[in-house]
């Protein structure tokens, strides 16, 4: 036992549950994580010197967070844990890692990618101004550092995180000016049958909205962002938007949190050579995998929000399913009944997630309408007008071509925050379906890698 080299990337809910199941079967897995401590984004821990309680930090998710942290603590000595370590590249069956300026490699027999998700962001005119954060980042500021992103905050976007993060801000005593949702309320009603696959979550979501309203926060649906107001020097001073009735309105604030639900972090799957397919419900390319998490590449498995965004509890299930697939493929006997229950759970979660996608859609039409002076790619400061110019005048109707000509997606984030929106702008301008615009190819490094990094023998 234990002679197989299994590497799990990511110590969030999927990665921890996956490693736990491997440990239970006597396997010593390597668990690599970019963060300083386990928990992923959702169960991110506060600094050691901070004393907020689980209830205060994680709210309704406190029992799950505690269980996750305890599980990790118990197995800590039974795994090879590599925190603060970036997987910056994959070549064949070798992972290339970097930690504190040292580069080293680890070979694997099986690789489970539990890379999680980050905000999916719609570009809004003025979003490059200081004081604009993604909703996920706003939540991290609160969770990890007990900070609000500003003295007065507008939350603008869509998706469950819009309501969760804004409620957490209110609860922590921050001044939330408004919660503006780009999706129409009627969509939620229509998606209700699917959403009822998780009645507990529907109730929780409704509870968040009424909590916000009771706290006096303006909550609007069906809005369209017009501009994040302010100056380049002083940063954000407010938000201009069109309300559901078509009236243009302005709200003063010092900071804005924006985001349209989440998008999987798929660069590692891409570098590993996994095949992708276009998902029409969420209008994005996602890595293909079977019901257990086997990707199109042998010995590479995918689990959690890094494949498709189904939430933390589903990620726990997916991590276990992937572990079962790894174990089964390596010749270990599998508990078929346990597996069947996990699959049933997963199906229910998937139905709920498809309801979420319908209720809080990615605002593709709004994105195709953004003004020419709206920055699309913040890293390279490329505006929609320039992107449209290369589509119109230079024939760049494919996203990698448009990137080559306009630099959209060429900067520090490598398109992680702009490629989805850029694809919509291109599709709108070229008048083609967005899937025809294609998918921006990932290149190493997965995150910026210091030239000072020195190679070390593994």
């Amino acid at each position: 036992m234990g002679q197989h080299r299994v590497i799990v990337v990511g110590a969030g809910p999927a990665g921890v549950r996956c490693a736990q199941m491997l440990v239970q079967r006597g396997m010593r897995a390597i668990l690599v994580d970019e963060n300083r401590r386990d928990g992923g984004q959702i169960f991110r821990r506060q600094p050691d010197s901070f004393g907020r309680s689980y209830g205060k930090l994680y709210g309704t998710e406190a029992p799950q967070a505690r269980d996750m942290h305890d599980t990790f603590a118990k197995m800590r000595d039974s795994i090879d844990y590599l925190p603060e370590t970036l997987v910056w590249n994959i070549a064949g069956k070798r992972l290339h890692l970097a930690c504190e300026g040292r580069a080293f490699t680890r070979d694997f027999d099986a690789l489970v990618l539990c890379t999680g998700a980050t905000d999916r962001v719609m570009p809004v005119k003025g979003w490059e101004r200081a004081g604009t954060y993604s909703i996920g980042a706003a939540q991290i500021a609160l969770k990890a550092q007990a900070c609000s992103i500003g003295a007065s905050v507008v939350f603008l976007g869509s998706g469950p995180l819009l309501y969760l993060a804004s409620s957490q801000y209110v609860e922590a005593g921050a001044n939330v000016v408004a919660v503006l949702d780009t999706s129409a309320f009627s969509r939620r009603v229509r998606a209700l049958p699917k959403l009822l696959a998780r009645f507990d979550l529907v109730r929780k979501g409704a509870g968040l909205v009424s909590f916000l309203k009771r706290a006096g926060v303006k909550v609007e649906t069906g809005v369209e962002p017009v501009e994040i107001l302010g100056t380049d020097d002083a940063g954000v001073s407010g938000v201009r938007y069109r309300d559901a009735g078509g009236e243009v309105r302005e709200l003063a604030c010092e900071a804005v949190a924006i985001g349209q639900h989440l998008r999987p972090e798929t660069q590692l799957a891409d570098l590993a050579g996994c095949r992708f397919a276009f998902d029409t419900a969420t209008r994005q390319w996602l890595p293909e995998c079977d019901e257990l998490g086997r990707s199109s590449v042998k010995d590479v498995y995918l689990a959690g929000d890094g494949v498709r965004v189904l939430g933390a509890d589903c990620a726990e299930v997916a991590g276990q399913l992937a572990a079962a697939a790894v174990l089964g493929d390596l010749g270990y006997p599998i508990d078929a009944q346990g597996l069947g229950l996990l699959k049933q759970k997963r199906t229910r979660f998937e139905r709920f997630a498809s309801g979420i996608a319908e209720a809080f859609p990615w605002p593709a039409e709004q994105i195709t309408r953004v003004s020419d002076d709206t920055v699309v790619c913040r890293c390279e400061e490329i505006r929609a007008g320039e992107l449209r110019r290369v589509v119109r005048d230079e024939g760049a109707r494919e996203i990698n071509r448009a990137k080559a000509f306009s630099r959209v997606g060429m900067g520090r984030c490598q398109g992680r925050y702009c490629a989805h929106a850029a694809a919509e702008v291109i599709a709108g301008c070229a008048n083609v379906p967005v899937e025809q615009v294609g998918r921006q190819r990932s290149q190493a490094p997965v995150k910026p890698l210091g030239i000072a990094t020195r190679q070390e023998d593994a």
């Binding site: 910056w88 590249n89 070549a91 290339h96 580069a103 490699t105 390279e380 230079e394 024939g395 494919e398 071509r401 080559a404 000509f405 630099r407 060429m410 900067g411 520090r412 490598q414 290149q443 190493a444 490094p445 910026p448 890698l449 210091g450 030239i451 000072a452 990094t453 020195r454 190679q455």
Partner: protein, 375 residues
């Protein structure tokens, strides 16, 4: 289906083919450019982007000089500067014997009209303060520079189209043959194209086409190992490379106006012609870091943000094939530029257009004749 006709068929839409199409139109010749994917996607797009004469094989300097004159006129000619900057370029060395080689190259290059300056010691450090302490000498050309490879070939293609060339993309030519007085090129999906002249500019894949005319060449595909850092304020003006015969020392870099440092050099990866892809091997990136730190220590403070590779064609003697077929009249070649074709592209396009149009070229190209591989 009725075949498309023109004076010249060009197979391969890199910088050689697109420039040739443009200059043929300028001479009033009709041209059909056939490209398997989109123009300017392989070697023409992924190379380092140096517009360099310094250090070139001496008999190639007349062609490089012809090309350099075109680079300076791109905005007037094609309406796009492709970010060409006559920034200056230098090569540096770590050993005395290499400095001696630089000196004698400088004397020879002067006969071709290329003026080069040598810098050492204090003078070198004063002019190029970013060089590492191990750098011994630098040879500098004020007229060399760099451009953006992702933009140049597509810009030539658009200009050629404006001049009336037919640019046919997404057309994979699988068969080429001469049928009576004209050539026929047939695509994988069965379309055919005809012309009395055929120019093959298909890079690493050109060997598959020259072989169909009984002129096989020893060519293979290799992938350059490129990278780019995050931007920093623009300040390192010249392009810098290490002129060494030791592969493990070779590195080159340039700073673009936007501020990023583009670098490459050293061991190349295998390119897969069927997949039309080559990868960057992670180990190569890390050894490049080491060489960058030795060459310009301050670069250690930057982050790499992206790597890339692509397919470049290499002939066994590291020189391209440029010229006419030895066996078939009306057949012309310009391919296999062994990683140093970007600067030459506009000049090759111009020279081939001249050759096809007039039957001869004013630039000596004899050393690149395909006959050197035919027994």
């Amino acid at each position: 289906m009725k075949p498309m006709n023109a004076d010249v068929l060009i197979v391969g839409g890199g910088i050689m083919g697109t420039a040739a199409a443009f200059f043929l139109r300028r001479r009033g010749r009709s041209a059909i450019l056939l490209e398997r994917g989109l123009v300017g996607q392989q070697a023409s797009a992924v190379n380092f982007g140096a517009v360099r004469r310094l250090g070139r094989f001496l008999p190639q300097l007349p062609l490089a000089t012809r090309s350099r004159e075109i680079w300076a006129k791109l905005p007037e000619l094609i309406g796009h500067d492709s970010e060409f900057l006559a920034s200056g370029l230098m090569r540096v060395c770590y050993r005395e014997e290499e400095a001696d080689i630089f000196e004698s190259y400088g004397t020879d290059a002067a006969h071709y009209g290329l003026a080069l300056d040598m810098y050492r010691g204090q003078a070198m450090r004063a002019k190029f303060p970013f060089l590492g302490p191990e750098v011994l000498a630098a040879q500098y050309s004020a007229t060399c520079g760099h451009a953006n490879p992702r933009l140049a070939a597509p810009a030539f293609s658009r200009a050629a189209a404006r001049e009336g060339a037919q640019i046919v993309e997404n057309t994979d030519i699988v068969r080429v043959e001469k049928d009576g007085d004209s050539f026929r090129a047939t695509s994988a999906d069965g379309r055919s194209f005809r012309a009395p002249n055929l120019l093959i500019t298909a890079g690493a894949w050109a060997g598959q086409l020259s072989a169909q005319f009984g002129e096989p060449v020893p060519i293979n595909g290799q992938g350059p190992q490129m990278g780019v850092t995050e931007p920093m304020p623009y300040g390192i003006v010249p392009v810098i490379n290490v002129g060494s015969d030791k592969l493990e020392e070779i590195i080159y870099f340039r700073q673009v106006k936007r501020g990023n440092i583009v670098f490459g050099g050293g061991r190349r990866s295998t390119a897969y012609l069927d997949e039309r892809r080559a990868k960057v091997e992670p180990e190569n990136t890390l050894t490049q870091f080491q060489r960058l730190r030795r060459l310009a220590p301050a670069l250690a403070r930057l982050n790499l943000i992206r790597v890339w590779s692509g397919v470049e064609g290499y002939l066994s003697d590291e020189l391209p094939v440029i010229g006419t077929s030895r066996k078939v009249s009306g057949l012309f070649y310009a391919f296999g530029f062994c990683g140093h074709g970007f600067q030459l592209g506009p000049g090759v396009g111009d020279a081939m257009a001249e050759w096809i149009d007039t039957g001869s070229t004013s630039t000596p190209l004899q050393p690149f004749d395909i006959g050197r591989f035919l027994s």
